[in-house]
């Protein structure tokens, strides 16, 4: 499994390296702006870092799906499927490498964001005041039962990050299933791509509906997000088993 993960990482490392490089440039820009107290530079760098944080996680997921597609639909598939590894192990390595990459990327940007905000507060008292105002405003927004919708603190931010990562892992594993169904069951058939895309949308909708049903009675937003994340991971596990089973029984490369 570890060896397969190593090669999965090797297939995607260049994109990750570019992402890291651009992030480093944006961070230097941020520090430079902070040092010079230049609002334009600060604004640009914060915008860039935010885009990179969201976009980075998206790109890693998309690349993982594209790599799986290539691994099943090009001659490179022989490299993977002639090795003495079951489809469960092959797919497991992909899911783990992707999950780990997303988690590390998420944790990296979370840590970087926390550090940058701390530096920003330390440097500027005005910004600190603005931050407190935002927090105060959000804490006044309450649900029907009087519970606060959001308290901006590190714990909440961590839960939101967790929730988003789980949702993304769920979406990517659903895409794995759609791509595998396309390659193994619908290969050569008309409207192959369209049918697998409809399958992806249908499963994503069903997964969202399940999360909504499961969390509608939970008053706390944070608990609700945690449960949503848990269900998303559970659904991702079901997608993994279904995908591996189809690969094992039906996939010809």
């Amino acid at each position: 499994m570890l060896k397969l993960m190593k090669y999965e990482f090797r297939k995607t490392w260049f994109t990750k390296l570019i992402l890291l490089g651009v992030t480093a440039v944006a961070e230097i820009l941020f520090l430079f702006g902070l040092y010079l107290e230049n609002e334009n530079t600060l604004g640009t760098s914060v915008f860039l870092l935010t885009i990179l944080a969201i976009g980075g996680v998206l790109v890693i997921g998309l690349q993982s799906v594209i790599t799986l597609h290539q691994d099943m639909n090009t001659r490179q598939s022989y490299m993977l499927f002639m090795t003495p590894n079951s489809s469960y192990v092959i797919l497991g390595a992909k899911v783990l490498e992707f999950g780990l990459s997303v988690a590390v990327t998420g944790a990296f940007f979370f840590a970087l964001g926390t550090l940058d905000i701390t530096l920003l507060f330390a440097k500027s008292g005005e910004l600190n005041q603005l931050w407190n105002m935002i927090q105060d405003f959000l804490s006044r927004i309450t649900l029907a039962n009087g519970t606060s919708i959001l308290n901006l603190n590190t714990q909440t931010m961590a839960i939101v990050t967790f929730n988003m990562l789980c949702a993304w892992i769920n979406m990517v594993t659903t895409a794995y299933l759609a791509v595998t169904v396309s390659a193994a069951l619908l290969n050569g058939k008309r409207f192959n791509g369209l049918l697998s895309f409809i399958l992806f949308l249908a499963i994503s909708w069903a997964s969202g509906w399940l999360e909504q049903i499961a969390t509608q009675q939970i008053p706390s937003v944070e608990t609700s997000m945690l449960v949503q994340g848990g269900i998303a991971l559970l659904t991702a596990a079901v997608m993994y088993v279904a995908t591996a089973q189809i690969m094992e029984k039906k996939l010809s490369v």
């Binding site: 060896k3 190593k6 090669y7 090797r10 297939k11 001659r75 490179q76 598939s77 022989y78 490299m79 499927f81 002639m82 090795t83 003495p84 590894n85 079951s86 050569g188 029984k249 039906k250 996939l251 010809s252 490369v253």
Partner: protein
């Protein structure tokens, strides 16, 4: 039987690439799998390598259906290039070393030297002939029970062909089974001792070449012409 297919069939949509082929291959022999383009040779090999799933029937290795376990003992070389484009010749060897216990990196280096390839070469910049040599080197560096080489002489010059032939014959021991497909019938005649003729997805016959020569006075090339002559014009 080392490798056996029972009524194995593979269809792609409306096309039947392999049609109820029952075939038994024994160790200690070098088989030439012959037939014109599209006759089903490659498909049968991929079925035996476990890369394709049969539509009907099964392929067996040492009495068990082809599986993950059999991949440890069957070395398959595809006719198409299949290495990751980012790989160097060294990476290819390391990859095989990572996944196949029977792979010898020393043997790989020796074969690379004979094929005049170096570890630092990038696979994406190899010529078709060099790529063919690399595929042979990495496949034959395994100490497998079965070697299936699909068109091993494609795109390879005469001198390199001699090297490959010598390499193949070196591995043709009592314990191993070699199956080679090729259009170069005369070339195969010098290596193989048995021949499998496939036509339009169906098995025509599997013959012992020496028996055919002595009993019928027919060479492999003659038999090839008899079977496919009218189809190849």
């Amino acid at each position: 039987m080392m490798l056996e297919s029972k009524e194995v069939t593979k269809t792609f949509g409306a096309k039947t690439a392999v049609d109820h082929i029952s075939l038994s291959l024994e160790k200690g022999h070098v088989y030439a799998m012959l037939g014109p383009n599209g006759s089903g040779k490659t498909t049968w090999m991929k079925l035996a390598a476990g890369l394709l799933k049969p539509s009907y029937g099964l392929v067996y290795f040492a009495g068990e259906p082809v599986s993950i376990e059999s991949r440890k003992h069957v070395a398959y070389m595809s006719t198409e290039p299949y290495f990751y484009t980012w790989m160097t010749v060294r990476d290819v060897g390391k990859y095989y070393q990572d996944f196949f216990e029977d792979f010898s990196y020393d043997r790989y280096l020796e074969l690379l030297r004979k094929m005049e390839l170096t570890e630092s070469m990038k696979t994406k910049s190899l010529s078709s002939g060099m790529m063919a040599k690399l595929k042979i080197a990495v496949t034959m560096a395994r100490d497998a029970d079965v070697y299936m080489l699909d068109e091993p002489f494609n795109g390879i010059d005469l001198l390199a062909r001699d090297e490959i032939r010598a390499c193949i014959l070196e591995y043709a021991t009592e314990e191993k089974l070699l199956l080679l497909s090729s259009h170069l019938v005369e070339e195969m005649e010098a290596i193989a001792d048995r021949a499998v003729f496939i036509k339009e997805g169906k098995l025509v016959e599997c013959v012992d070449l020496e028996d055919m020569r002595t009993q019928q006075g027919v060479s492999m090339a003659d038999r090839y012409r008899q079977i496919y002559g009218h189809t190849e014009g």
